[in-house]
Symmetry: C2
Subunit: 119 residues, 2 copies
Amino acid sequence: MTKVNLSQKFNLVDEFWSPRIVGELNGQAVKIAKIKGQFIWHSHENEDEFFLVVKGAMVIRLRERDVTLNEGEFFVVPRGVEHKPVAEKEAHIVMFEPTGTLNTGDVNNERTIEKVKRI
Amino acid sequence: MTKVNLSQKFNLVDEFWSPRIVGELNGQAVKIAKIKGQFIWHSHENEDEFFLVVKGAMVIRLRERDVTLNEGEFFVVPRGVEHKPVAEKEAHIVMFEPTGTLNTGDVNNERTIEKVKRI
């Protein structure tokens, strides 16, 4: 039961595409990530995923269109929908999703993070 | 499946202490509210409640201490914990909580909003 300052937490993150858990409620995790470049196409069978940009901009590529998110904008990727997060420049995002959600969803490769750190 | 711009949504809110649903995922709602002044003491028996300040500042009073949140800071009030949100000046907040969560929790009075609008 301590408050969380998002900027302070982002200062602790030193790699891209590596989410950190910064809070939990009702079985859901609040995660943050620094992103830059391209992530992989993937989907989450049973989890809807919330992306909020707090610094910079990102694109959530969907198979039929691209969703560009600027600072202060969010998007929910429904379960089962393939998506590919991309950020041309470094961006900072907040995610909200079930605690156990794998970053690469249905894909298991070198970018998969099995155990997300809590900071 | 459309993106949400938080500023645009806040522009649609014309009253204090009246949450609006701006997104839903995994049975949880993303709500926004403009707050100013004092709310009431209450608790939520089965729901943890997430408060993020995106503009201004707020205090979440707990029985044993006060938690002051400035812009970019969040706090999770665990289920069952009595709290009283307060904002000296107008503040804008984002909440995550189960969709059906009542704003006044275990208290039912003139400030209770049975049906939260979706905007």
